[in-house]
C-alpha cells in the first residue's frame, strides 16, 4: 500500500493533497482525524498526525479548535499550481533523459506526445493546439499524478 521511497507521513500528505486536487475532499470539507487515518491505513497515529500537519504548514488544511481539520478555501488551486511548477522536473526531465538514451530527437518526442494525447479517451482538441491559452489558467483534463501515487 505504501512504498519505501518516501517517509510514510509524506505519503499520507501526498494522498490527502491528491484527494483535495481531484475533489474527493472539497474545499471546506472536514478531513478525517489522525486517529481515523491511523486505523484506516494501519499506521501509527503520530505518523498520520505528522502527515496532516505537513498540509497545515502548507496552508492546505486548517485546524478549527474543537471541531476538527478542514480544507482551506483556495487549497485546490494552490496545490495545482505547485504541481504545475513541478511538472517539468517530475515528468519532462525523466522523459527526455530516456529519449536521449534511446536516441530519439526532440521532434520524435513531441510527435510521440501528440500521438499519445490524441489516443487518450478524454482527448481534448482545444488543448492540443498552440493557441489553446495559458496552461496556468486551465485545469488539465488529466491531473498529473506523481509516480509514487501511481504505484
Amino acid at each position: 500500500m505504501f512504498d519505501e521511497g518516501t517517509p510514510l507521513f509524506v505519503q499520507i500528505a501526498e494522498r490527502l493533497a491528491g484527494d483535495v486536487v481531484d475533489g474527493t475532499l472539497p474545499e471546506g470539507a472536514r478531513v478525517p482525524s489522525s486517529n481515523e487515518f491511523a486505523a484506516f491505513y494501519r499506521i501509527n497515529p503520530a505518523t498520520a498526525a505528522k502527515g496532516i500537519n505537513l498540509l497545515v504548514d502548507q496552508g492546505v488544511l486548517e485546524k478549527r479548535r474543537g471541531v476538527g481539520m478542514f480544507v482551506v478555501p483556495g487549497a485546490r488551486e494552490q496545490l495545482l499550481a505547485a504541481r504545475r511548477d513541478r511538472f517539468a522536473d517530475q515528468f519532462v526531465v525523466p522523459m527526455l533523459a530516456e529519449a536521449r538514451r534511446l536516441g530519439l530527437d526532440l521532434a520524435a518526442v513531441l510527435a510521440s506526445v501528440e500521438q499519445t494525447d490524441r489516443a487518450l479517451p478524454d482527448h481534448d482538441p482545444d488543448r492540443s493546439g498552440p493557441d489553446s491559452g495559458s496552461v496556468l489558467t486551465q485545469t488539465p483534463a488529466v491531473v498529473p499524478r506523481t509516480p509514487k501515487e501511481a504505484s
Binding site: E4, P7, A38, R42, N44, P45, A46, K50
Partner: protein, 315 residues
C-alpha cells in the same frame, strides 16, 4: 558507544506536557555464568509511543523486558520505569502489564483467566475484553491448557489490550496466530491506543507487518543496541546503491558496506548513511540508482554477519 534512543517527535503535542521518559535505561548489563545477555544497553522510551524492540532470537529482547518488569536483576547499570526501579516496586508494577512469549497460565478456563487478570489491572476494560473475545472467537469455557497455540496467544493479547496499562510489553505476542488474527491485533491495538494513548513496547520477528505501527524502533543484536531512533528517520541510515560495478565501488569507497552482490558488471550494495544532497547528486551523475531500504532490510543488515559494520553505524 551505545546510542541513546532519540526522543519522540517533539511536534507531537502530547509529549510537550509530559516529557519524562517512561523507561530510562543506562549502561545496563545482564550477565549469566558464561553468557552476556545484555551488554551496556542504554535507551529511553517516551510516553505514549509504540516502540518496536527488534532483533534475532536470543538477541536479548526478552531479557531486557524481564529486567524492565523486575523479573530479572541487572548485573550492572540502572533501570528506571516511571522514574523508579521496577524491582519489587508495587507502585511501578501496578502500572505495567507484560505479555510474555509462551506465558504459562494456571489450569483454569479462559473466562477465569480473564477474570483473574481483571482483578490485577486497575485500568481493565470489560467491554473491550468481551469484544476481543468475540474478535478472536475464543471459547470462554475451555481450559487454557486445551487451547491451540494461536488461541493461547489470543488470551495474552486480550489481557494485554484490555488491561489498558500505562506501560504494556508484548513479547512476541502472536505465535501461532494466522495473518487474519494478527491483523485483528494490529487494528485493535491502533484503535485502542488512539483512544487511550499509552506506552507500548512490542517485540516481534514480523518486522514488515508492524513497521508502520511503530513510532520508535530499537534494534538489539547480541545484547547490544545497534540501531535506535524514530521509525521515520531510520530509513536515512542506509540506502541500496545499484549501477555499474565500477561506479558503485567508487561511490561506496570509504563507506560501510553491509551487503553487496554483483552480476554481469552490475552491482547492488547496501551502504550506511548519512547521505548529503551532494552525495545524491554525485550518484545521479554516475548513473547510480539510490533506493531506501525497508525497516526489515535495515534490521537484517544491522544484525547480520557484519557485526562490526552495524556497530560502526550506530556510533
Amino acid at each position: 558507544m551505545t546510542p541513546m534512543a532519540t526522543p519522540a517527535d517533539p511536534t507531537r503535542t502530547a509529549h510537550l506536557t509530559d516529557d519524562r521518559p517512561v523507561i530510562e535505561v543506562e549502561h545496563l548489563s545482564r550477565r549469566y555464568r558464561d553468557t552476556t545477555a545484555l551488554d551496556d544497553v542504554s535507551l529511553t522510551v517516551q510516553p505514549d509511543t509504540i516502540t518496536g524492540l527488534l532483533g534475532r532470537n536470543g538477541a536479548g529482547k526478552s531479557t531486557l523486558m524481564k529486567v524492565l518488569t523486575g523479573q530479572e536483576l541487572a548485573s550492572a547499570g540502572s533501570v528506571r520505569v516511571f522514574g523508579q526501579s521496577p524491582l519489587e516496586h508495587d507502585s511501578v508494577l501496578r502500572r505495567v502489564v507484560f505479555i510474555k512469549e509462551g506465558q504459562v497460565y494456571p489450569d483454569i478456563s479462559v473466562r477465569r483467566a480473564l477474570e483473574a487478570a481483571s482483578w490485577c489491572c486497575p485500568g481493565w476494560d470489560h467491554d473491550l475484553a468481551r469484544e476481543l473475545v468475540a474478535d478472536f472467537d475464543l471459547p470462554l469455557r475451555r481450559p487454557i491448557k486445551k487451547l491451540s497455540r494461536g488461541m493461547h496467544s489470543a488470551v495474552g493479547i486480550i489481557i494485554g489490550l484490555a488491561a489498558r496499562a500505562e506501560l504494556t510489553f508484548f513479547d512476541e505476542p502472536y505465535l501461532g496466530l494466522d495473518a487474519v488474527a494478527r491483523h485483528v491485533f494490529y487494528d485493535r491495538l491502533l484503535a485502542d491506543y488512539a483512544e487511550h494513548p499509552r506506552t507500548v513496547v512490542l517485540s516481534t520477528h514480523l518486522i514488515d507487518e508492524v513497521a508502520n505501527l511503530l513510532e520508535q524502533v530499537v534494534v538489539i543484536d547480541r545484547g547490544r543496541i545497534v540501531l535506535s531512533g524514530a521509525a521515520d528517520e531510520l530509513r536515512e541510515h542506509a540506502v541500496s546503491v545499484a549501477g555499474s560495478s565500477r561506479a558503485v565501488t567508487e561511490f561506496t569507497t570509504g563507506r560501510t558496506v553491509w551487503r553487496t552482490g554483483s552480476l554481469a558488471g552490475q552491482t547492488v550494495s547496501t551502504v550506511a548513511g548519512p547521505f548529503t544532497d551532494l552525495d545524491e547528486a554525485r550518484a545521479a551523475a554516475a548513473g547510480l540508482r539510490l533506493a531506501p531500504v525497508s525497516l526489515q532490510e535495515l534490521v537484517v543488515a544491522a544484525t547480520g554477519r557484519r557485526r562490526d559494520a552495524a556497530a560502526e553505524l550506530s556510533a
